[in-house]
């Protein structure tokens, strides 16, 4: 896979570190009890088959956090943006 980093251009995927699904939001509440929200966030996954938004870190390059829209069934990449941009707009 080639990933088009907004800062570095087309780079091979092995320069990047994968984190996973970018859609789930980290719960705000800090509770001492285990809440369903936290359990869901940490342990459960939609495990999308098809187009997924996911975090990739350009750890072997400019070290930017990126969000890709990638098809998990075909590995085709449809779009890339930076993580801050994704957080602002909620889309790629």
């Amino acid at each position: 896979m080639l990933i088009k980093c907004p800062f570095c251009g087309d780079r091979p995927s092995e320069e990047f570190t994968y984190r996973g699904d970018a859609r789930p939001k980290r719960p705000k509440a800090v509770e001492t009890e285990v809440s369903d929200e936290w359990f869901d966030y940490v342990y459960l996954r939609d495990n999308v088959k098809g187009r997924m938004h996911e975090h990739w870190h350009h750890s072997g390059g400019c070290r930017a956090w990126l969000v890709l829209e990638r098809d998990t069934a075909s590995h085709e990449i449809f779009g890339v943006t930076t993580a801050p941009e994704y957080a602002r707009k909620g889309k790629i």
Partner: protein, 416 residues
């Protein structure tokens, strides 16, 4: 028909023209006592043990493709029980014991070969970790030996012992480990289940789960509606998809793992060796090909094919361990979809739905577990509760905080 010397002689005399198919191809019935979703190794083993151990024979195994088309036909065929944790070790040792009697049990030659498995270590710290693992195994009654560098050299003299950064210091070996002909495992369990009355229905994809009053009543499939009293999910890499039909979200990610086989070589490697530097494991098949693999590619995938960076990484690790294979050609590579769980350990359990059961989360270690997985899952389905062997492989362990994390990686499945 039993396979034995007499049936072989009888069929030889008639020119091998009268062998019967090993299993039927029945039309699905309107309903079954138990419907198993997934005709891979674990699903077929479950059907086999349901019939054999519990007398439950009104069972259907629904396979969306052809029998054995998934991970049972895509793995690197290694069996071992060198686990450390309490909830895992007795289970995998039970699997090893079932492997040891399997061929007689299901009357099929699965070519179980206990050629041993050798895990190399390259530093003092790694040796200590392996010694600890070996001791944990021995406490559970499993064979394990720590051998030094010269003992490794006697067995596999062609390894790179004097690698400047990672010299081989020794190995942890389990002599009862080895390899099994993986396709024959699927065929043996399928034949054994079929002959006891189980219907194996191929090219039958489950498309929906029908619920009434909080219970499963049947499944919609590509070959029509099939009713059931109990539904057992066993869909490996597609578990999340199937569970979503019952509105369940699982602690799983699907990842692609690649495996490789080289051109045929003369007998060269008579054991299984795993590398302690990179992730690389290799054995030699009876046809002569080196069968090997490494890590998962590391990103979510349902594609059943991986990328070249992982191919390169695995082969680099292999050549670093056995420099002599640098000019051996790769014949084939392929990928399978792993149901990676949040702690690297599997799930065999009931679900919150009364008559629905779940078997998943095998990560990339499901093949060796095939007999015990089927055996324990069949028990769980028949008795509506876990056997002691799978009593810690619970779905709710993540919520309760009882992880079984052999590698200590946490809820980041691509690192397990």
């Amino acid at each position: 028909m039993s396979y034995n010397i007499f049936s072989l002689a009888r069929n030889a005399l008639s020119g091998h023209k009268n062998w019967q198919p090993a299993w039927r191809e029945p039309e699905p019935k309107a309903s079954y006592d138990v419907v198993i979703v997934g005709g891979g190794g674990h699903g077929l083993a479950t059907a086999y043990y349901l019939a054999k151990e519990h007398g439950i024979t009104n069972v259907a195994v629904l396979e969306k493709s052809w029998l054995g088309s998934g991970n049972i036909g895509r793995n690197t065929t290694i069996i071992r029980s060198n686990y450390m944790l309490e909830g895992n070790n007795p289970f995998y040792e039970w699997s090893m014991k079932l492997w040891e009697g399997l061929e007689q049990d299901f009357n099929f030659n699965a070519m179980v070969s206990q050629r041993g498995i050798m895990n190399l270590f390259h530093s003092d710290a790694q040796r200590d970790a392996f010694a600890r693992r070996g001791n944990a195994m021995r406490i559970h009654g499993v064979d394990a030996e720590l051998i030094d560098r010269e003992q490794v050299r006697e067995k596999v003299p062609f390894l790179s012992f004097d690698n400047a950064r990672f010299p081989i210091q020794g190995a942890l070996i389990q002599k009862r480990g080895g390899t099994v002909r993986h396709d024959a495992v699927a065929w043996g369990f399928a034949r054994g289940a079929d002959s006891r009355g189980v219907d194996i229905i191929q090219n039958c994809e489950v498309q929906g789960i029908k619920m009434e009053a909080g219970k499963v009543v049947g499944v919609e499939t590509s070959r029509g509606y099939i009713g059931c009293n109990k539904l057992a999910l066993c869909a490996a890499g597609n578990s999340s998809e199937v569970a979503a039909m019952a509105d369940m979200k699982l602690p799983l990610e699907s990842h692609v793992l690649q495996a490789f086989v080289s051109e045929g070589l003369k007998p060269y490697l008579d054991t299984v060796v795993t590398y302690g530097v990179g992730h690389f494991y290799v054995s030699q098949s009876d046809k002569g090909g080196l069968v090997f693999g490494g890590d998962i590619d590391g990103y979510n995938s349902y594609a059943r094919r991986g990328g070249l960076p992982t191919v390169e990484h695995v082969i680099e690790a292999g050549v670093s361990m056995i420099p002599g294979i640098s000019r051996v050609k790769i014949l084939r590579s392929w990928g399978g979809i792993m149901d990676m769980s949040m702690d690297g350990s599997p799930i065999i359990d009931k679900t919150h739905i009364d008559n629905m059961y779940l078997n998943c989360g095998w990560c990339y270690g499901g093949f060796k577990a095939t007999p015990a997985s089927g055996w324990c899952y069949a028990w769980t389905i028949a008795k509506d509760g876990a056997h002691e062997l799978n009593s810690q492989m619970r779905l709710d362990r993540f919520r309760r905080g009882y992880m079984m994390d052999e590698k200590g990686m946490g809820a980041q499945p691509n690192l397990h």
